[in-house]
């Protein structure tokens, strides 16, 4: 359940950039990984900051990081064809995956998380506080994002930019800044996902694989529908856990891959999307 929430958060990041800039950030998984590293290793393990200041610092760093990533690795390539932008984003992912090996060291690390192993027992089930924390955070972010897109002027700007960049620019929206903001926000989302999941997984470049699951969540749910992406994340998490329990834990990646392929074949717009969005890709 909570793993699914984290996938959902990653999916929100994808769907956010998709809605605003009309691209899928191929390096999103690596953003999650960077978030895990900054929060888990630097802020918590090394500096020993408590949860709230660590989160604030993380959000600030990743916001700046997102803006820089957009300016340096995405904007210069948008003028060329789509393939160039894609290859550039892949190269960015590759750069990040290896940069963490240089900045931090190559051995996987663990981090205790704000509550360690502590939890609450309800009946016979022991639920870790970390799980509850993940669910609360996710719901809060979900509501925040929904409110932002539907009811604030900036959210409307971003939606306008994603619908038609030229027209949006014509009515006075600074499209470039909007897209930069999008990258900042989605990298914050990715970082929060990384922060939430890092107590469960080891902090290593493998963390970037979460990106693929998040993408799967968008495929199963929908790229354009925020709630759909979230539900997709829950479903992917559910399939993965049950698949590895009942079929084989060694093939959990394969299970997720097959599910995603299945959806791409038979319902490429996802469970909650409208028909035409794939055609416009």
């Amino acid at each position: 359940m909570s793993i699914g929430c984290v996938y959902g958060l990653v999916a929100l990041g994808y769907s956010f950039i998709w809605n605003a800039a009309g691209v899928v950030n191929l390096a999103q998984g690596h953003f999650v990984m960077i978030g895990g590293y900054i929060y888990g290793i630097t802020l918590t393990n090394r500096l020993g900051l408590p949860l709230i200041p660590a989160t604030i610092l993380l959000v600030l760093t990743m916001g700046v990081f997102g803006v820089i990533a957009e300016r340096v690795f995405y904007r210069p390539f948008t003028k060329a064809n789509v393939r160039t932008a894609l290859v550039a984003l892949l190269a960015l992912g590759m750069l990040l995956a290896n940069a963490v090996l240089i900045i931090w060291d190559p051995y996987p690390k663990g981090t205790p998380g704000p509550w360690g192993q502590a939890g609450v027992t309800i009946g016979s089930v022991n639920i870790m506080y970390q799980n509850i924390f993940i669910i609360v955070m996710t719901v809060a972010l979900l509501i925040g994002q929904w409110y932002f897109f539907k009811h604030t002027i900036y959210g409307k700007y971003l939606r306008a930019v994603s619908l038609d960049k030229a027209t949006a620019a014509l009515i006075g929206i600074d499209t470039e800044r909007s897209i930069a903001l999008t990258f900042a926000y989605s990298s914050i989302l990715a970082a929060l996902a990384g922060m939430l999941i890092s107590p469960f997984l080891a902090i290593s470049p493998q963390l970037a694989n979460v990106g693929f699951k998040g993408f799967g969540a968008c495929v199963v749910g929908s790229f354009s529908n925020t709630l759909g992406a979230m539900i997709g994340g829950l479903m992917i998490g559910f399939f993965e856990q049950f698949g590895s329990f009942y079929i084989s834990s060694a093939y959990r990646e394969a299970i997720v891959y097959i599910i995603i392929t299945f959806f791409l074949l038979f319902r490429p717009e996802g469970l909650f999307g409208r028909k035409k969005e794939v055609g416009s890709l």
Binding site: V23, V24, L26, F73, P76, F77, K79, A80, N81, V82, R83, T84, L86, V87, A88, L90, A91, L92, M94, L95, A97, N98, A99, L101, I102, P106, N209, G211, F212, F215, G216, V219, S248, A250, Y251, E253, A254, V256, Y257, I260, T261, L264, L265, P268, V278, L281
Partner: protein, 335 residues
């Protein structure tokens, strides 16, 4: 016209490769030269999909792994000769290309790129866990070198001559394909799918064909790879390895055959030079991709052509015929 440039550069690159044994008989250098041949064949495969057909499918390493394991299994477990093994490997990889290609090609762009990363992860999972067949994490050992008429290519020198002949053959084939109507169809899929369909050519068929041709190349590369190393294990076939090939193609020159070969040459040597950095060398490569895309999207190939033109004392004509425009033969003017 412009294609004579392409042929000259391809020929020049191959000539340099051919001269390697004259300068050094050192086993290690010849081994590296061997690796260049394998890599170049694989980059040619990637070029058919990413370069010509313009599909951002980066699962080449997944196919490569399957090809390598097929060849290894044929030689070690079945006891087949190299020639039977390479045949099985080629056919198997081509079939897999169709099976994977058909569903993947319903989607394009970002979807395809992410699906291909997933594909590599799955292949890796299977190789690691299907121990009775693949040998698990330990892989397969004791793979023999190929033999021709009873002569075994035991030393790296003979192996190199063999791989080089293979590379030269497939490079020639690639050039023939590029100039055929299939080559034109691939580029049309990349540049304007709708226009291609209007001319009565099926876009899906063309894309699958690109996958199958890539599968053919990958099969050859995989067989050579296992024969060269003598063993195969799953840890090689990761997404990072795939990025390496993408980097070779982009740095050499996307959509160009000589670019694929020169890219493989330069970057394989660079990999060896950067070996002290261990896994961190990919940082350098990632930066190279970004710099090339930013400042010289045509890669080495464009630079080489410019040099040739200057050598002849004439300016590089930016307005070459549309088939080979600025970005290494890519009609970027379409955008």
């Amino acid at each position: 016209m412009a294609n004579t440039d392409r042929n000259r550069i391809a020929l020049g690159a191959l000539a340099i490769m051919a001269l390697v044994p004259l300068f050094t008989q050192h086993s290690y250098y010849l081994f590296v030269a061997n690796v260049i041949c394998v890599n170049a064949i694989l980059v040619l495969a990637l070029n058919f999909i990413l370069g010509f057909a313009g599909q951002v499918f980066l699962g080449t390493v997944g196919f490569f792994a399957v090809a390598a394991y097929l060849a290894a299994l044929m030689m070690v477990k079945v006891g087949a000769s190299f020639w039977l093994a390479i045949l099985v490997s080629i056919v198997g990889t081509m079939l897999l290309s169709v099976v994977i290609g058909l569903p993947s090609l319903r989607v394009s762009g970002f979807y395809l790129a992410l699906m291909s990363t997933g594909f590599i992860a799955v292949v890796n999972d299977v190789l690691r866990n299907w121990s009775p067949v693949t040998g698990g994490v330990f892989g397969i050992m004791g793979i023999p070198r190929p033999t021709i008429f009873g002569f075994r290519m035991g030393s790296n020198l003979f192996m190199y001559i063999f791989s080089f002949v293979m590379l030269a053959l497939v490079a020639w084939l690639a050039i023939r394909i590029e100039d055929s109507r299939f080559g034109r169809a691939f580029k049309a899929v990349r540049d304007d799918e709708l226009a291609l369909e209007m001319l009565g050519v099926s876009a899906t068929y063309t894309k699958v064909l690109a996958f199958v041709i890539a599968g053919f190349y990958t099969g050859i590369a995989g067989s050579l790879f296992v024969s060269l190393h003598g063993f195969v294990s799953p840890e090689v076939f990761t997404s990072a390895y795939n990025s390496l090939f993408m980097c070779m193609l982009v740095v050499g020159g996307l959509s160009t055959i000589p670019g694929a070969i020169t890219g493989a040459m330069v970057l394989t040597v660079l990999t060896e030079v950067l070996r002290p950095l261990r896994e961190k060398y990919l940082t350098v490569f990632a930066l190279m991709i970004l710099l090339v895309l930013r400042y010289e999207p045509g890669g080495l190939y464009t630079l080489l052509r410019a040099t040739i033109s200057r050598f002849r004392g004439r300016r590089l004509r930016r307005q070459t015929p549309p088939a080979v425009a600025t970005v290494g033969g890519e009609a970027s003017a379409v955008k």
